[in-house]
Symmetry: C2
Subunit: 221 residues, 2 copies
């Protein structure tokens, strides 16, 4: 029997696309380069995939869907777990930070929104406020994702974040004192702050605001 080691398929194409995106970012993924890596022609790709956008959506979904099946006992902790799942996935695959907000990736985003919304409901937020609360969490998470993607794209793939932050911190520290008094004050903290912890701090800020929406339980007798 012949081993079709290299049988082409949608999965193999998407997998190779993810690898190329990880290695060289969004600009590194061209259909031609993808075909070359898979040892085929251009048309072969287009047989399995509608177009480049379809490919990007599939790649984003592949990376993020796996990141979502975390859970915790507490609804608040589950929110944190889901948020961190997205954060870590975007951290490992920075190009997803740009893809996620795109409407074509809406199905992936909807999965995140659904998980967040259920926790908001479980926290006891009144029905009328659930939509706003879940949206706030989602938008914050997507915002951080976008910023991290930008940060990662600004440096050669593989550069450690400490280097980037150090240089950014130096820039901020040199800013005009009058016009940028806050940025200058914060510059010192920027160099050695923990992105992940700061991300969680933001989640906790929103969760605190959400908790304030929950009506107080009847006082115990």
């Amino acid at each position: 029997m012949t081993r079709r080691v290299d049988a082409l398929s949608r999965e193999r194409i998407v997998g190779a696309a993810v690898e190329m995106l990880d290695e060289s970012g969004e600009s590194g993924l061209t259909v031609r380069a993808l075909a070359a890596r898979l040892n085929t022609g251009l048309g072969a790709i287009y047989w399995h995939v509608t177009n480049k956008d379809d490919l990007l959506v599939a790649a984003t979904d592949a990376v993020l869907t796996g990141a979502l099946d975390t859970a915790a006992a507490d609804p608040a902790d589950t929110v944190r777990a889901v948020a961190l799942g997205v954060f870590d996935a975007v951290d490992a695959h920075p190009w997803t930070g740009t893809q996620l907000p795109r409407l074509t990736s809406q199905l992936t985003t909807l999965k995140i929104f659904e998980r967040l919304g259920r926790q908001v409901r479980a926290l006891g937020v009144p029905a009328a406020a659930q939509f706003d609360a879940a949206s706030a969490l989602l938008n914050y998470i997507l915002g951080v994702a976008g910023q991290n993607a930008a940060l990662a794209r600004s440096v050669a793939p593989g550069t450690d974040r400490a280097t980037v932050l150090r240089s950014m911190s130096a820039t901020w520290a040199a800013l005009d004192q009058d016009e940028h008094s806050f940025a200058r004050t914060v510059a010192g903290r920027l160099a050695d702050h923990d992105d992940r912890a700061q991300f969680l701090a933001g989640i906790d800020l929103i969760l605190a605001g959400i908790r304030a929406l929950v009506p107080a339980p009847a006082p115990s007798p």
Copy 2:
């Protein structure tokens, strides 16, 4: 004297770019089309502008910087005013929602961050927590900007949002009940919800969380 009505300049180029972006989105702006609109050659553009990215950054900054000089008496209200300024600017020029998170637009983002940070400081947040609080506000604002940009890009420029929301609402309502119970519940609200109000609700959620960070003042005697 000759009226040099059409003297080329960086400002005129950036202005024309903003118009083209407004009319036909990011994909509608090509250097060739821009040259044609300004009745010049390709090279003329590149004499005044480093490259296309430079142009996009300048266009984004032009649109957003004006949106930031709002103020209010209360720090919390100023946060709301700045946030709404960004929201409305992105609403009027959806392509900025995608540009803003890019690192090349960092200077524009820094202006927003600075304004937010000052209010956080004015609110009495302890120094150690100011960075996290200002970042949370910024990331939320950028997240909403990105989502609104995606929404706007999904329809022909000029389509009113109600139409988009109605179709999205219909999609959500048709989702599988088990897998998407939250999205389905919320679908009804989606059709007629006010984006701007929801955006502000998110800001208020974060502000509520931030207020909880402020140490209580000494009790009045």
